[in-house]
């Protein structure tokens, strides 16, 4: 079951790590379960851990002055969740993160990450891959947010993350894309009529 993390590391680094080494790596993580709707992080908290999702699905969102939720991130198996700003700088977060399904996580503190990166070159490589991917995905999302219509944003979302579209209900997807659930409903109808 923790094999998943081993796979993740090995498929994201050229060298990889052995089973023995992995025993050590494991000890840097804390195992945690969350039931549907439980919070992983709430506004004002300090994000002590980043979480690697073994199974389940989670959402990260802000709540604005009018009390409306805005989803900034969705995550499923083999993704990481957390607020990097809070985690690296130890400052209070503005986000909520909760479990959308029952979820199993491996938690890692910032200090432990630094140590792991020092100690295992393969892990450092994995981390680089994550950073690159994260940056790239962020860039793409910004590009699409400022330059595309609601419809096009939805279409590229479907292309990039079809499995998220199956995993979360439509109003969550809508919020993730920055559009109203009603509008997304209409867009879908429109698309069916080719």
């Amino acid at each position: 079951m923790m094999k998943q993390l081993l796979n993740y590391i090995n498929s994201n680094s050229s060298s990889g790590i052995s089973e023995q080494e992995f025993e050590i790596v494991k000890s840097y993580f804390i195992h945690k379960r969350l039931r549907k709707k439980q919070y992983f992080l709430e506004e004002g908290d300090i994000c002590k851990y980043f979480g690697f999702i073994l199974s389940g699905a989670m959402r990260q969102y802000t709540v604005d002055d009018k009390g409306a939720e805005h989803i900034v991130q969705l995550a499923v198996e083999n993704w990481w969740v957390g607020d990097r700003e809070s985690w690296t700088m130890s400052k209070p977060t503005m986000y909520y993160i909760d479990a959308w399904e029952d979820t199993e996580l491996l938690l890692m503190s910032h200090e432990n990450l630094l140590e792991l990166v020092q100690r295992f070159p393969a892990f450092a490589e994995t981390k680089k891959t994550m950073d690159d991917r994260n940056n790239i995905a962020g860039q793409r999302r910004i590009t699409s947010a400022i330059s595309s219509s609601a419809e096009k944003r939805y279409l590229t979302f479907l292309e990039c993350y079809p499995y998220l579209a199956e995993r979360f209900p439509q109003h969550i997807i809508a919020s993730y894309l920055g559009i109203a659930k009603d509008t997304l409903s209409r867009i879908k109808r429109q698309l069916l009529k080719e």
Copy 2:
């Protein structure tokens, strides 16, 4: 004049590097000048280098099917420019990057970055800081793009990057924020009337 890079590295890492070491570090970079309006990158190119801006100002943008430009990034002294996706994966870029003012750059290839990070712990630390910052800024921008009105986006932009607002004309800022120049003009008028 290249002192700037030394300062940058030393102020973004706990250990820092010596003047001698810096001589070596320097050799990893290529010096380049661009005159106003010259391209650093064009759609379809492969981004061979990331650039550290010594002086000047640059913009990064896409051009959509209708030929309209959408600014995804602005950069001035001590910032980095480039398309990370193209740079790390050696694939053709979708962006244009050009000089808004006469600009002086230090260029670094991806291979050289990897070597530098290996060779100088201080540089690895600097890189980590950059990645963290980049991620955090990206997260913030996404959050504001999906959850704030045009007016609020403009206000937080002014708070975070007042110096960019002085450096680039208003229609560029508007595009960066994903709003029409006309709309931004009206928002400003509105704000003056308190």
